[in-house]
């Protein structure tokens, strides 16, 4: 299976130079095309940091991140932004929808940014995620589960090759979480997107192709 994301010996620590706290200590792994991966570990184990580094939102202190054969760590802000815009989509635990845009505008936002706006594709996503009646509403009028569905629709509307999700069902009840996860995995599989999910939930992890457990900043 061809490699889509390759993380090699990534290190990251936070704090002042006098008291730096290491978060990641030489983490390496690969994610293949159309593969799904769960990143698990206790709070503070560096899961979210690793996801942010993979997305080019943060830079590692050492090591390399390779997405689709491109060294993300060697890129400047504009190049990393361009890569995210066209190839990577993010789903945040707090949804991070734009409050002043309607649901419809939020969903099409990244697709419009990347110049890949495909209304038929968006209509089908909206239909599958059960958001058809919510399109003219603003995010504040939606429940948590609905907002998470909007975030997933936004991520997939841009037809990314890599989707990175941080606790995508962390704010949802069990029933909603199951429904959202089912829909997300079905859509990811249908679009051939690779998926990396940060999660505390063993149930969510079990639904992925494989699981990577982080402990003390290293792959356990």
């Amino acid at each position: 299976m061809a490699t889509l994301l390759k993380i090699t010996s990534v290190e990251k620590s936070y704090g002042d130079s006098d008291a730096r706290v290491p978060v990641l200590r030489g983490v390496s792994f690969e994610l293949g095309r159309q593969q799904t991966l769960a990143l698990t570990g206790e709070s503070g184990s560096g899961k979210s940091t690793l996801l942010h580094i993979a997305a080019g939102l943060e830079t590692p202190d050492a090591g390399t991140v390779n997405v689709l054969g491109q060294d993300v760590t060697a890129m400047d802000d504009s190049a990393r932004a361009a890569l995210r815009r066209s190839e990577i989509s993010l789903v945040f635990q707090q949804f991070n929808l734009i409050p002043s845009l309607t649901v419809a505008a939020n969903i099409s936002f990244q697709a419009a940014l990347s110049g890949r706006l495909d209304q038929a594709h968006i209509d089908s996503l909206v239909s599958v995620l059960g958001l058809s009646d919510q399109m003219s509403k603003y995010p504040e009028a939606l429940s948590g589960g609905q907002q998470q569905r909007v975030a997933i629709a936004r991520a997939l509307a841009a037809r990314p090759r890599l989707m990175l999700a941080d606790e995508p069902t962390g704010n949802l009840d069990e029933q909603s979480a199951d429904a959202v996860l089912d829909q997300m995995l079905a859509l990811v599989a249908a679009s051939g997107t690779s998926l990396m999910v940060v999660t505390h939930s063993s149930k969510v992890a079990a639904r992925m192709d494989r699981t990577l457990h982080l402990a003390g900043g290293q792959v356990a």
Binding site: A55, D77, R85, I98, S100, N171
Partner: protein, 792 residues
Amino acid sequence: MIRTCILALLSHWKRNPVQLFAYLAGLAIATGLWSGVQAINAEARASYDAAAATLGEAQFDQLIPRQGGSIGLDTYIALRGAGWLVSPVLDVELGDVRVIGIDPVTSPGAIGAVMAPQGASLFAPGETAQLFGTGAAARALEGTAPVIVDETIAPGIVLGDIGTVQRLSGRADLSRLVVLPEQPVLQGDLNTIAPGLRLQPAQQVSDIAQLTDSFHLNLTAFGFLSFAVGLFIVHSTIGLAFEQRRGMIRTIRALGVPLRTLVALIVCEMLTLAAIGAVIGIVLGYVMAALLLPDVAATLHGLYGAKVSGTLTLRPEWWLSGFLLAMLGSAAALAGRVWQIGQMPLLASARPRAWIMSGTARSRLRGWVALGLLGVALILVFAADDLFFVFVLLACLLIGGALALPVLFARALALFERRSTRPLWQWFWADTRQQLPGLSLALMALLLAVSANVGVSTMVSSFRLTFAGFLDQRLAPELFVQLETPAQSARLEAYLRDADIETLPLRSAQMQIAGQPARLFGVRVGPTYRDNWVFLAALPQVWDQVDRGAAVIVNEQLARRGDLWIGDMVTIAPDLTLPIAAVVGDYGNPQGQVVLAEAQFTQLYPDSFASQFGIRTGDAAALRRDLVDRLRIPDHAITDQRAVKALSLEVFERTFTVTAALNVLTLGVAAFAILMSLLTLADLRVPQLAPVWALGVTRRRLSALELLRAVGLALLVFVFALPLGLALAWILLSMVNVAAFGWKLPMYLFPLEYLRLGAYAVVAVALASVWPARRLIRTPPATLLKVFANEH
């Protein structure tokens, strides 16, 4: 990508129309007040320049009488004969209009170089009986002389051939001689040919422009203060808009928009909106200036005798300066926020409340800057000696005071919090302290507005009180008569002497004393002068000395400008130097004055006659009838004391109409700033209020507390504004007036006026807080509950 980003950025304003309104309105008000004031100044300056150009003061040297009076025709002929290329000018007043007669053959082209609407020369041979002036001047001379309307001529001035003007005024002499730029190498000595004349070099700036500079500087200072208050709103709105959009900015960046692109788009967006606000402001400024210009014109005429056109022209210097200042002000407010975005890590907290807490870190720096500025202000109180530095002092005092406000407030609120025993009040004070960074800009704007109001109203009321007292002193005679001819004067004096009525004839001449232009008055010393005149400084037996011809009295303006005081000597004529026995306050008069005995004046000017008379009488109406019936003095030449006082007070009130209007506007802008801050903060405050509501405090109670908080803050602002405003008043009365007008005014306190002002401020703020408070009452419980359901 660009279009999608722009739409996302603009969607914020669509969802937050109040914020958009605050931004545009803040800029529009700031630009409007500034450009309105500048429009008035530009119009006035253009009128002065037109007058200077018409009179040739700015371009040509002139020969003028050494000690006032006029120039005989023989002197002019003698000078021409001795090789002096000079052109005669006769300058007379006809009613309210200045009529200038020039010789079209000998005058340099630039003087009165106006063209008739048809394009024909105004002074073509055969057309010498024509006069030209503005429509207003033509109307003023209706019935006296026909005037052809030409709006390019300076306001209040009518131009014509010297022969025409001589016939109209019944005079054969000349006022001055314009020296042509090209002169022969050999020409006779001026002192030999015309010893009574002196050469006055061309003035780069006209006298009237210099005189009125201080008035315009005052207006500019007010305009700038209003602009600063408006910019507080802009700064505050930009700050809130950026904080509210932190989350959006983070998301947009995370979804793949480079930081540089995003920053560029935000700058373009905000500056485009700023341009719209500035254009609206320029329109507002135009309307405001058009409304205020007639009053300003009246003020300038009343105070300085300057004629200003009452019609406003759209001049680039004011609208462009307003536009550029608005853009620069917005850019400055924007720069800090854009820099913050540049520094903000992509994954920084998007919580909008975070900024409020971070404000405390800056408050210490702000406190030090305030202390520094107030220190500079204190030094300048002793060191500032010209108008520029006095205005620097005012700026340091006001900005320093404004910056100190949040620091002092924080201390006061912490004290209240410590003193509170009940939990709800403890929360109330703590919550108020937490809100302070978000409200501080609006509170500073209110402080500036209230201080300016206290300061200016103290100045105006002190001035009014002093002026009214001064009028009582100076306008003791019950009747005043203004005469045109020596024969009329002699007849009146003889009549009054025969009737045993106390008469105060006044003779005057224009001259230079101690290097300053001044008017010399010859007075008949009598009980009226002795009983009524109050001096700022005087030697014993002032009037006896003046009556003996052993001393003179000078007004404060001349004393301060010429660095003179009692005991100093002044040269009145080459062979007459006298000590100053007293300095008299002379409010509202821009000119220097010297008073000496009538007999001495007559010796200096044997041909002069008393053209003005003050008359003491128990029955003013009867005497007035007598003068009209028996002496055939025209009724309009006689004015009774009450009318003069009323007119003087009216001029005074009109003088401060603009100031009062700007004062009210500034207070209104500050109240608007408070309203906008409260409205925008209201949404951000839901997470603070929801837990208190959940713990059992009703929405109605919370709203009442919000209202109470606003009123309490306004009261605290007033408490801080009072000393700042009184300091401002002291500087205006004791420093600005001396530097600008040449007189110092005593400062009086008006506690009731301050209380009324405080009440206005509190009411304005209470009204501003009613809307946000009502919104809180109507906040549905579901909205408050969302805080617990969902932290975003």
